[in-house]
């Protein structure tokens, strides 16, 4: 398992559209279990839009990402760069 931290860039938080895009990205890494959470809080399955939305992430939130299985480091890098660059 590999882990990393990221700061959410989306100015209006992780609402339905960016969450949907993130789910698509995560699903493109078959065999990788991606989890996202806030430090000290629960972490959720990043392939589930409902779970992601349930975190109610605001812009600037600090996030912890972990990837287990599949192309771990590639997936981790893609997810981190998505979270740090997503615009809306």
């Amino acid at each position: 398992m590999v882990t990393a931290k990221a700061i959410l860039s989306a100015p209006t938080g992780l609402h339905a559209r960016p969450a949907g895009d993130l789910v698509k990205l995560v699903k493109s890494f078959e065999g990788s279990a991606v989890k996202i959470g806030v430090p000290g809080g629960r972490s959720v399955n990043a392939a589930s839009m409902l779970s992601l939305l349930s975190l109610g992430l605001k812009s600037g939130s600090e996030l912890e990402i972990s990837v287990d299985g599949g192309r771990e480091s590639e997936a981790l890098e893609a997810v981190v760069s998505f979270l740090e660059s997503v615009k809306d």
Partner: protein, 470 residues
């Protein structure tokens, strides 16, 4: 229309015996939603939500913890719904209904309880706490005389469907104390009364048009005696698919629409999305205020390839119908192209430039008009009238923008009032500007169908009234 009848209480039968496993029910519901999604994009969103891993994971975790399957399902549904209800975002909080609806479907599939209202007594008034979209699909509207709901808004799914079937509905009703069989009454000014409206309009010498969202709407309206179509919404061609319809597909639909009108005017509104209406393959950057953002003609002008394809298809349809029926075009083309959300003369000129570029002889194929929906269009009506061939007042949006009140927000419902003198004075100003420029002005909002508004609107000088249905 006012109807009375015996109350029939909508009971969500609480069958608590599972006859199907969760996995089998999931497959059944997947199938139902895929089929429904073909006609209605709301069910596409439901299908996506059903396929979210959280749904299955939560139910299976509950079962693994030793819960009975039905209990596991109910508990998962409640947990997910309350999670959404707690999110500080109005849009997401409203998804609670969708979540509950999906779990309702799963429960019905597990208990084999698929049509609780199978034996609805003809002529009864359906009384319900709340009707979700999945309930709506089970209602036999040919038997229901009226509907009373305690919860829901007048723009909710059930209201739209009930009214389109001619069934009066009231939401926000006090249903406590109504028992099965009690005589109840439902009054709905938005249903029926059209005979009255039509005869008043005929007596005043105004044109009676009909609004249409499909070819069959056009056929039904013309068969019922409409003088033409005052609003043909083209969105149905664009929704529920992954990519935009091509020029040929659009041309064939627009030709059919023209032919169905039999030479009577067809007012074709160019694609009107944005605001609360989104199409997955037409991306719009996130907006703080979608209703003040890229919608209507603003959006289509910002997507020139998309817009050009539609305009090209419209002109091609007009050309091929003209070849078939030249007599329809002898005096003036029956095809009226209408632009939504226009604020500036420049927007009309931009559209004319595209039309000119596609076919320099386009003026013989279509006339070009605009919807009056914004205060800017009313206050600048004189300059707009100089650039186009007709006005059509969209009272739904005009009311919302004049009063600065969201039509779906119950907190400002007292402001969203098309009868308000400010809105009516906007209507009269637009009509005056049209008439002094020598072009006609019509109305195509819901207010046109309201029998209480007919006299007021006739006196403001409107030339045509496009009714929701005839």
């Amino acid at each position: 229309m006012k109807v009375t009848g015996p109350a029939v209480l909508w009971e969500r039968t609480s069958a608590d015996k599972a006859v199907r496993s969760f996995e089998d029910a999931y497959a059944v519901v997947s199938g139902q939603l895929s089929a429904l999604a073909e006609d209605n994009p709301i069910f596409e969103a439901h299908l996506e939500m059903l396929q979210d891993p959280m749904v299955t994971d939560t139910v299976q975790a509950n079962m693994a913890a030793g819960m009975q399957p039905l209990k596991a399902l109910d508990s998962a549904g409640n947990a997910i719904a309350s999670m959404f209800a707690g999110i500080d975002d109005e849009y997401l909080a409203a998804r609670v209904d969708d979540v509950r609806d999906i779990f309702r479907r799963l429960r019905d599939a597990m208990t084999g309880n698929s049509s609780p209202q199978a034996e609805f007594p003809e002529g009864g008034i359906l009384v319900a706490e709340e009707l979700l979209p999945s309930d709506t699909s089970k209602i036999d509207f040919s038997k229901v005389r009226g509907i009373l709901c305690a919860k829901g808004s007048t723009t909710s799914h059930v209201c739209i469907i009930a009214r389109s079937k001619g069934v009066p509905i009231r939401v926000g009703a006090d249903i406590s104390g109504i028992r099965e069989g009690d005589p109840v009454e439902v009054e709905d000014p938005l249903v029926g009364g059209q005979e009255e409206v039509v005869s008043k309009l005929r007596a005043a010498g105004r044109k009676v048009y009909v609004n249409a969202g499909s070819i069959s709407d056009i056929e039904a309206g013309i068969a019922a005696g409409a003088d033409g179509v005052g609003l043909f919404r083209t969105e149905f061609l664009f929704i529920g698919r992954d990519s935009e319809p091509g020029a040929e597909e659009q041309e064939s639909i627009y030709s059919q629409a023209l032919l169905s009108c039999g030479g009577k005017p067809l007012t074709l509104r160019t694609l009107d999305v944005g605001g609360d209406k989104r199409i997955p393959y037409i991306e719009i950057p996130a907006e703080e205020n979608p209703f003040l953002g890229l919608r209507g003609v603003r959006l289509t002008l910002a997507r020139p390839e998309l817009f050009r394809t539609q305009l090209k298809a419209v002109l091609a349809a007009a050309r091929s119908v003209r070849a078939l029926r030249p007599e329809w075009f002898a005096d003036q083309s029956p095809l009226r192209l209408m632009l939504p959300m226009v604020c500036l003369p420049k927007e009309i000129r931009q559209v004319r430039a595209i039309l000119e570029d596609i076919d320099p002889g386009y003026r013989g194929l279509v006339s070009l008009g605009i919807m009056i929906e914004t205060p800017a269009a009313v206050l600048g009506a004189e300059a707009l009238a100089a650039e186009c061939d007709f006005f059509s007042i969209g009272t739904n949006d005009l009311t919302q923008y004049v009063m600065a009140a969201d039509r779906g927000n119950p907190g400002v419902a007292y402001l969203y009032d098309s009868y308000n003198p400010a809105v009516q004075s906007a209507v009269r100003a637009a009509v005056r500007a049209a008439h002094s420029a020598g072009i006609p002005a019509g109305i195509c909002g819901e207010l046109a169908s309201d029998p209480l508004a007919t006299e007021m609107l006739v006196s403001s000088g409107l030339d045509s009234f496009s009714l929701s249905k005839l």
